[in-house]
């Protein structure tokens, strides 16, 4: 019997200024092929990774933000964004990429992948994982 583990990728850093966000996303995309139970969490400056309208032309680095939109196609549809981190930065869900997936258990209805969760709720989610990669 194949093992299914719960993998959580915790993204804590801004998308640009270091490679952590990009190399986290690369693990997520490769890991999606392994049929595991995958979730992503965005906390602290990590919430900036999901910002709409990113433009890296001024710093001449790769703008990989559109790649997050592909997560739904990889069956990565549990994306938790910490409410407190958003609020501290004056952000709300409207500032984030509209990430969606098609729910195969609900006649392929298009649904939001992003769930805004409180710090306390995220603690429970973290408690419930088998494996946590923090970037």
């Amino acid at each position: 019997m194949s093992v299914i583990k719960k993998f959580l990728y915790v993204n804590r850093r801004a998308p640009h200024g270091s490679i952590y966000a990009l190399e986290s996303l690369e693990v997520v995309l490769i890991g999606a092929a392994f049929d595991q139970d995958v979730a992503l969490a965005f906390i602290d400056d990590g919430v900036y990774q999901l910002m709409l309208n990113q433009d890296t032309s001024g710093i001449a680095t790769k703008n990989f933000s559109s790649t997050y939109k592909a997560l739904g196609d990889y069956d990565v549809n549990k994306i938790y964004v910490e409410k407190e981190s958003l609020e501290m930065r004056g952000l709300s869900k409207e500032n984030l990429l509209p990430l969606t997936y098609e729910d195969e258990d609900d006649d392929w209805a298009e649904k939001d992948s992003i769930q805004i969760v409180t710090s306390a709720e995220l603690s429970d989610i973290i408690d419930n994982q088998d494996l946590i990669f923090s970037f």
């Binding site: 583990k5 993998f7 952590y20 190399e23 693990v27 490769i30 392994f34 595991q36």
Partner: protein
């Protein structure tokens, strides 16, 4: 217990690779199994055979190589992270038209799937780095 080891920092700047090494050696000496040591991000820099640290200091790469030889350790550098940072085995060097490889003994280049696989196989994955 079966451990997977992930090393995300290069040698010398941070202590992460030293700590990972000591943890891995201690686990093996206490009868535990190491599924794999996976080097990611700047951690791939642990695999270069071209570093020449001063003789009165530890040689982090050589130490990993020796541990791998003693215990038949599976040590993997992530290919995407390695290519970015100039860590090449013979095949990669040839493919990229470079005049040398720089892979130290015991290190192999493979994909991120090896990290996920280690996560599935291991009872615990220990992550060393920032």
């Amino acid at each position: 217990m079966k451990f997977g080891i992930m090393v995300n920092e290069g040698p010398y700047t941070h202590q992460a690779s030293d700590t990972a090494y000591h943890f891995t050696a201690a686990a093996l000496n206490n009868g535990h199994e190491i599924v794999r040591v996976f080097f990611y991000q700047d951690g791939v820099n642990n695999g270069t055979r071209l570093a020449v640290p001063p003789q009165d200091d530890r040689n982090i790469t050589t130490r990993w190589s020796e541990l791998a030889a003693q215990h038949d350790l599976d040590m993997v550098l992530c290919v995407a992270a390695a290519q970015r940072r100039g860590l090449l085995d013979k095949d990669e060097a040839k493919r990229a038209g470079k005049d040398t490889d720089n892979m130290a003994p015991g290190f192999n280049i493979s994909g991120l799937g090896q990290l996920i696989d280690a996560g599935i196989q291991a009872d615990r994955v220990m992550i060393f780095g920032d």
